[in-house]
Symmetry: D2
Subunit: 347 residues, 4 copies
C-alpha cells in the first residue's frame, strides 16, 4: 500500500488518474491539489466522485505533499512541473510527470517547441521516458518518469518494430493524426470548442506540433538514425481517442520475410505480433482488420493494424488519449515501479 | 466463485454485462450465446474484448447453458425470455431477466403494451422486481429476477419517497424523460439513427411508451393508490444516459416538515437523504445542485435533485441507462443474491 | 433597397443575420460592428463568408452607423442595446433589437431577472414585441422592434390559441424546454462547452430562467389573466434547435368542439390550423405526427404538434433557435416593416 | 424556366437537390420518384418541406418522367442509372447522373471496383465528367453529365495545378480523407451508424475505395502520366463535410518560382490563386490559414490551403460532400448547361 498525491487534480489527466486509482487496491490517495481559488472537496468539483472520495483539493503545498505521499503524479501544463520535481526528488519521493518537461533530452529542442527554458537540467538526465514497451527495465528503478505524450505514445508504438530493424524508408514517415478534444488539456479544449461545436473538423499546428520532436527523438534512438517525421494533427468532434494513419515507403532491401534482429517473420503483421508478444497493452490486428476508437476508448490498449502494399506500408493505430496516452500509462508505470501487477486497476 | 451464462451477449446490455463481469472476482463467464449465424469469438464481435476473453459466442443451446451455468442473465428482447425461463428454473438455475417479460404483474397490461401473450404465468408470480432499493430482502432469495426497465428505474427511485408517504398530488405526476440512443436496444438504435444522425432531437411514443405501466405499477404499490403518470420520452443525440425531469403538484396537507412514516425532515431533500441513507447507489443532491449525464455515465449511481416551489415539486434524476438502468443493476442484483459485496465490479 | 447595419456582427445571431441578408435582394449591408480589438474583414472572422462579402467589421461608431444605415439590427447582449437605441431613434433610424432590453413592459421584472436597470423607459413603451403572428399590424409601423427570445417564441406560438380562448387550466402550464448550445449566445456556449463536450445533457436555471417572465407577459396579455408558467430549460449536446414539450391540464367547461372566439373546431389540432391558417411560418402537425429538430433547423418555421388525452394536453413545438428564435424572425420583422415579401431571404 | 425531374428523390443527394431547386427561379420541379412502396407526398417523407412543396413522390415511371421533364437528375446508387440513361437520351432529355456509372472511361476498372458490368458503353463516351473547373466548355453542350464523386471532387481540385504542371513527385501522392457519414449514401450511413454512434472514428476501405480510380483517371489526364495515388478514407462522427489532407514529395527541378504553363508565380499558393482566379466556387487560403469543415458546410465552395516544407507539400482541402461533392455541383452543372448564372440557388 502506497500513499499517492496528485498535483493538477482538476485537469482531464488528473480526473482520470483519480478514477483509476480509486479502484487500485494498493493505493491510498492522500493529497489532491490544483491551481484553484479555494479548497474544495474533489467530489464537489467532479460530482461523479460523490460517495467515492471526499478528499479536499487544495492549492499545492509542497511540504504537505511531501509529508503525505510516497509517489506524486504531476498532471500539470508544461513548465509547471519543473517547479515541483527538484523538491520532490530531494525529499526522496518518486515522481511520475505527465507534462512534457522531462521528455526531450535536447533542451534546445524543448526550448524551441515549448517557448520556455528547461530550468532543471540536473534532473533531466535522471528522467526515464515512461513507455513501458521500450523502457520497462529502467522504469522499475526510476525515481522520475517522463510520461510520454499522447500522440507520441501511439506513433512510437506503431513504428517501433520498423524503426528498430530499419524495415522501410525511415525518411519518408508521414503521420496523419486525429484526436478527440480532450487530447490537449482542459484549457485548450475550451478554446477549441468555442469555435467548433459538434459538427466541425480541422487540422491544426500543421507540421509544427510540439509532439513531433518527441516522436523524432524516440524513433531516432530506436533506429540509430536521425529521423524527422511529417506530422499533421487534426481535432475530432468527440471527447477522447487518438487514431493515427501512418504512411511509409518501402525499401526493397529491408522487407520482412527475412531476419529482423532476433525475429524471423513472413510478414510485418507477424513480425509485430512477435515484437509485442509479451506486452499486456499492445494488440496487433489481423490482416484487413482495422481499429476503431470505440475498440480502445475506456481501455489502456494500443491497437495496431498494418496494411502492406507493393510500394508502401500503411499503419493505423489507436489509443484512448487519456488512458494509454496519459493517465492509464502513468498508472502502468507506477505498477511497474512498485512491482504491482501491471494490469492492476487498468480495466 | 460462480459460473455465469449470458443469453443475448451481443446486444448493448450483453456487451455491458461482459465488461462488468470480466472484472468481477467471484464470477467465471462460462457460456455466451446470442442469435447469430455462426459461432464467433466474442472478441471478434467486440474487438475491445481482445486479450481479455476468448470465449466463443454460439447460438443458445439450453442444455449446454444449464450444464455450464449456476446463474444465467437473459439479455433478450421481450417475449424471447419466456422461452428460456421455464427450462432454467426447472433445472434449478437462478435467472436474472433483463427483458420486460416478468415485470408486469397484470398480464392484461403486459399484453396490451407489448402486443404479445404472457405465456409463462406459472413463473410470473415467482419473479421478484429487481430494484434493490425497494426489494432487497426478496432479491436475496429469488430464483427469478425481473430486472427493471431503464426509464422505470430512474422514475421510481426519483418518486419513491413521495409515493410511499403520499407527499404530493400523486395524480399529477408528469415525467419528461430524455434518453441516449442505446436505451432502446441495438436494433432500435439502428432504426433511430438512420433518420437522425448527430444533430437531431425528438419525442417518441408520446404517452404510450411500454415503460409507463411499469412505473405506474410500482408507484401504485408504494402508495397503495392507483397511480397513472403522464410520460413523454425523448431521444438524445448521444450514446447513453437517461435524465428525467419530473413535475408534481403539491397538496397542502402532506408537505414535509412533519412526520413521514418513520422519517421526520424539514425539507424534501432532507427526507430523501434519510430515505436513501443506506443505499450504495443513490445520491441525493444538495439544494440548487442538479445532475448532468456526465456525473452518472459510466457508474451505477442514480443522482436525484429536488427543487420545491410554492405550488409544485420538480425532481431531476439521472442514470446510465446501460448500468443502473440495465446491466449494472443486474449485477447489483447478482451481488445481493450471492452475498457478494454489493459494490463488487461496479465502479 | 435599404441600407442595413448590424451591431454585434460577431455573435451567433449576428453571423446568422449576415448569412440571411447576403441573399436578400432588397438589402445592402453597409455597416458591421462588434466589440473587437481592431477592425477586421468579416470574412477573416468567418471564413465561410470569403468571396461573398468583404466589409470590414469595426468597433461600433454610432455616428457612422447612423450615416450608413436606414435600419439597424442590434445583436447584443442585454443592457448593451440601451446604449444605442436612444441615439438611433433620435436620428430617425428604425431598429430591430435582438436583446431582451425592450421586451418586458414591467421594468421591475426586467431588473429582477436581468440584474440591471432598464435605463431607457422613454423608448420602452414605443417598442413593439416582434412576434409577427400576434403583432403584425403594429410591426408594420414600428420604429423599434423588441425581437422575442428563442424560448418565448416557441412557447408563445405553442400556447397562443389555448391562452387566447382559455381552453385549458392556464394555471397548470409546464414547459420542459431543450435547446442546442448556441441558444444562449457565443459567450455562454463557450462556458457551457468547457464542462460538457459531446456526451452530456443537463437542466439549468431550473424555474428561474430570464425567459420565463417574457412567456408569462405574453400569455397573460393573450388570456387577460395573470399567468405564471413552470419553466425548466435543458441544454442539448448539439449546435442549434429548440424543442419544447408543454403540459397543460384540461378543464371540462372549455374543451373545443365548441365555439372559440371566431373559430369553431372539432379538435385542438383543427383549431390550431384555423388560428394559424395565414401564417407563413407556423406549421401544425397532424394527429400522431411529432416534430424533430431536423424538420425545422435551417428554416424559419415553428412546427407544432398537439396530443390530447382525457385529462391533459401535450404540445410539442420546435424551432431553429437562431432563425425563428432570433435572426430569421428579425428579418421576418424587417420584411413586414418594409413591405418586402414576408418570405424574402428566409429559405 | 425548365421542368426538372429527380429520380432517387429520397436519398441524401435527392433531398439536397430538392432543397436547392426549390429556391431556383428558373426551375420547376415536376417529377419526383424513388424506390418506395407507395406514392407519398415528398413533404410527408421530409417534413421540413411542408408548406414548400407538395409534389407526390412515386415509383419511377420512365414514360411519365420523359413527359414531365426537360432535365433529369439521377440520384441513384451505381448500376441503377444505366437503366434510365438510354431511355432519357433517346427521348432527347438532358441528364445529370450523380452515380458513378458514367465516370470511369475504362470499363475494366469500373467493373473491378463496382463489381458489376458497365452495360451502356454506347453512352459512356458521350458523358462529360462534370467538374466545371476542368470541363466547363464541354459541360455547356453536354446531354449527359457524369457528376463527380465527393472524394474525387475535393482531391482533384486540390491537386489539379500540381498535376497539370508536374510540380512535384506525382508518384508520391497520399490522400488521407475524412468524411461525414452522409458521404456514402443513406443506406451506408445506416449500416455505419449501427456500429458507431457518436463517439467513434475509423478508417475503412483502406486503399481500395472505389473513388480512387476516379481520382487516378483525372490526375492522369491532367498530367499526361499514369498516376496512382494512395487513398485512405475515414468516417467522422458528424453528418456532412469532407476534409482531405494530402501529402506530396517535392522534386527539385519543378518547383514554382518559375514558369508553370501560362502562369508565373513565386509560390504554390500564388500559383493556385492564379489557376483558380475565375472560379466562383474555389477559394485558396493564405499562408498559414487552414480550412475547417464549418467554413464550407452549407456552401458550394471548395477551400484549399497549401503548406510547403523543404521536402514536401501538404495540401488541406474541404468541401460539403452533399453540395460541392454532389447536389450543389450537379446544380452548378445545370446552371452552366442552361446558361443560368452559375451561382443561382447556390448560397
Amino acid at each position: 500500500m502506497i500513499n499517492v498525491g496528485i498535483v493538477g487534480a482538476t485537469g482531464f489527466a488528473g480526473e482520470e488518474l483519480i478514477a483509476i486509482l480509486l479502484r487500485h487496491p494498493e493505493v491510498r490517495l492522500t493529497n489532491l491539489s490544483a491551481i484553484i481559488d479555494e479548497p474544495k472537496p474533489i467530489s464537489g468539483l467532479f460530482p461523479k466522485f460523490k460517495n467515492k472520495i471526499d478528499l479536499i483539493c487544495t492549492k499545492p503545498d509542497i511540504k504537505k505533499i511531501i509529508i503525505d505521499s510516497d509517489l506524486v503524479f504531476l498532471a500539470l501544463p508544461h513548465t509547471a512541473s519543473m517547479a515541483f520535481v527538484p523538491h520532490l526528488l530531494k525529499a526522496k519521493k518518486r515522481v511520475i510527470d505527465l507534462s512534457a518537461d522531462y521528455r526531450l533530452e535536447d533542451t534546445g529542442i524543448y526550448e524551441k517547441f515549448y517557448k520556455t527554458k528547461q530550468k532543471d537540467k540536473l534532473h533531466l538526465h535522471q528522467a526515464v521516458y515512461g513507455l513501458p514497451e521500450l523502457y520497462r527495465e529502467k522504469i522499475k528503478h526510476a525515481s522520475l518518469i517522463a510520461n510520454p505524450g499522447c500522440y507520441p505514445t501511439c506513433a512510437i508504438l506503431a513504428l517501433a518494430p520498423i524503426a528498430a530493424f530499419n524495415l522501410a524508408d525511415l525518411g519518408s514517415i508521414i503521420i496523419d493524426a486525429k484526436s478527440g478534444v480532450s487530447g490537449a488539456g482542459r484549457k485548450f479544449a475550451e478554446d477549441f470548442l468555442s469555435s467548433v461545436f459538434n459538427e466541425d473538423f480541422k487540422a491544426y499546428k500543421v507540421n509544427v506540433h510540439q509532439h513531433m520532436p518527441e516522436i523524432n527523438q524516440e524513433l531516432s534512438k530506436l533506429s540509430h538514425k536521425k529521423i524527422s517525421v511529417t506530422f499533421v494533427p487534426h481535432l475530432l468532434p468527440l471527447n477522447k481517442g487518438i487514431l493515427e494513419t501512418i504512411y511509409i515507403k518501402k525499401v526493397p532491401s529491408t522487407l520482412p520475410g527475412r531476419q529482423a534482429g532476433k525475429y524471423r517473420a513472413p510478414s510485418l503483421i507477424s513480425l509485430y505480433k512477435k515484437f509485442y508478444k509479451k506486452e499486456p497493452f499492445v494488440r496487433i490486428r489481423d490482416e484487413g482488420d482495422f481499429p476503431s476508437l470505440k475498440d480502445v476508448n475506456g481501455t489502456n490498449f494500443c491497437d495496431i493494424a498494418i496494411k502492406e502494399d507493393p510500394k508502401s506500408i500503411i499503419i493505423i493505430a489507436a489509443i484512448d488519449n487519456l488512458l494509454k496516452g496519459a493517465s492509464g500509462q502513468a498508472v502502468q508505470n507506477m505498477n511497474i515501479m512498485y512491482k504491482f501487477g501491471e494490469h492492476t486497476a487498468l480495466i
